[in-house]
Amino acid sequence: MRTDLLAEYWPTIWNGFLITVLLSFVVLAVSTPIAFFLALARQSQLAVLRWPAGIYVNVFRALPVLIILYFAFYALPQFGMSLTAFQAATAGLVIASSAYLAEDIRAGLAAVDPGQRHAATALGIPYWRSLRRIYLPQAIPIALPPYITRAIIIVKGTALASLVAVNDLTAEAVRAISITYRPYEFLAVAAILYLVINALLAALQSFTERHIALRYGRVAAGPAAVAQ
């Protein structure tokens, strides 16, 4: 163990870690509302909303995320759109993540008893209000655990940004290895830092699951319980 090398490279590793955290946060913050509207659009009665949303979700989930990142990083300049590496990585990851998140959110929405929507409609409650007041409070507890599972996958996916010139945690670790020829130290540090982020998310997940189980009882048990 060469702790002196670790100390020497720690500032850049830490910098990479911060970029990974920032990238993860930005991607989740931007993807979530997009995914939410995609999920609503996929449930819409209007074909003009349903079809494009369906194509978006299915196309981007069918492709390797790296290919989407390459589009953002290499192909956009072809159309005169020059993004920085961080912007291109963010754009590519947002496109892929929102497609996956949309499916998770849609499953949560679909798990709410359709009778709830019928009841709201029959009472004459407007769409957006019934969504906010009736639908979401029931869908969020169901969708939250899979949402966090997906968030963990998205955090891990940010490592791909290292392949399009973003100096994230993985990129800095690889750089340190290729200079020092000490793989174990830097691989271990990178692995531990990723594990820290994901352990925090996993803890959040089990906290919300317990909280939801207490507060919502059987609703949180998922689609099967709701369907009965």
Binding site: V59, A62, L63, P64, V65, L66, I67, Y70, F71, Y74, A75, Q78, F79, G80, I152, K156, G157, T158, A159, L160, S162, L163, T170, A173, V174, I177, Y181, P183, Y184, L187, A190, A191, Y194, L195, N198, A199, A202
Partner: protein, 223 residues
């Protein structure tokens, strides 16, 4: 900027070659990871703590770090230990380790769906544990396992793109080499994306059949 798909006529042999490597890599990972995953699944619910605990730790660690990092761990970590592998086998090794635990969870769910009395009935007949697993238990897990298995297989297919990072000449890597030379990334990437979509489509078709089969047998396989 105007697009020029005529470039495809020039570059398609390289992309085709890359696609073949992608298919080979996907199959190699599936072939290696699947039996390993069965062992992981059996081990994770084993009565023996010496088996169960390390597997639980491995599983938590492997699922908490990026697959790309696992690839780098194999790629950079093995040579100093005296093991030098070519890019292709090191990618297979890394993805196999990673996916064995994902598939392991799938099989674990499948194993838990088989009533424990099936183990007892086989035990009472004097069947060996290995034969019990292969002949009695695994076939019964199929309806529960097949759909998630295939959807994980599409993750393997898409995941092979990562191997470009360790210089495996698969489709994404081939695409990059081609567009770096031709300065036509959009056209080349569109073709690569289409090829991935076709390969995905093949797996999704299998999944569709599998799900129909599971729906037919799944509900009635219990007594």
């Amino acid at each position: 900027m105007n697009l020029d798909f005529g470039i495809i006529a020039v570059v398609w042999p390289a992309l085709l070659k890359g696609s073949l490597v992608t298919v080979q890599l996907t199959l190699a990972v599936l072939i290696c990871a699947t039996p390993l995953a069965v062992l992981v699944a059996l081990g994770r619910d084993s009565k023996i703590p010496a088996l169960r605990l390390p597997l639980a730790v491995f599983s938590a660690v492997l699922r908490g770090i990026p697959p790309l990092l696992v690839l780098f761990i194999v790629f950079f970590g093995l040579p100093p230990a005296g093991i030098t592998l070519d890019p292709f086998p090191s990618a297979v090794l890394a993805m196999t380790c990673y996916m064995a635990f994902y598939f392991g969870e799938v099989f674990r769910g499948g194993l838990q769906s088989v009533p424990p009395d099936q183990w007892r009935a086989a035990e009472a007949l004097g069947l060996k544990p290995s034969r019990t697993v292969v002949r009695i238990i695994l076939p019964q897990t199929l309806p529960a396992v097949l759909p998630p298995y295939i959807s994980h297989a599409t993750e393997v297919l898409k995941g092979t793109a990562l191997a470009t990072a360790v210089a495996v000449p698969e489709l994404t890597s081939a695409a990059r080499q081609v567009f770096v030379v031709t300065f036509r990334p959009f056209e080349v990437l569109i073709v690569a994306a289409l090829i991935y979509a076709v390969l995905d489509g093949i797996l999704l078709t299998l999944q569709y059949w599998g799900e129909r089969w599971a729906a037919r047998t799944g509900t009635s396989i219990r007594f």
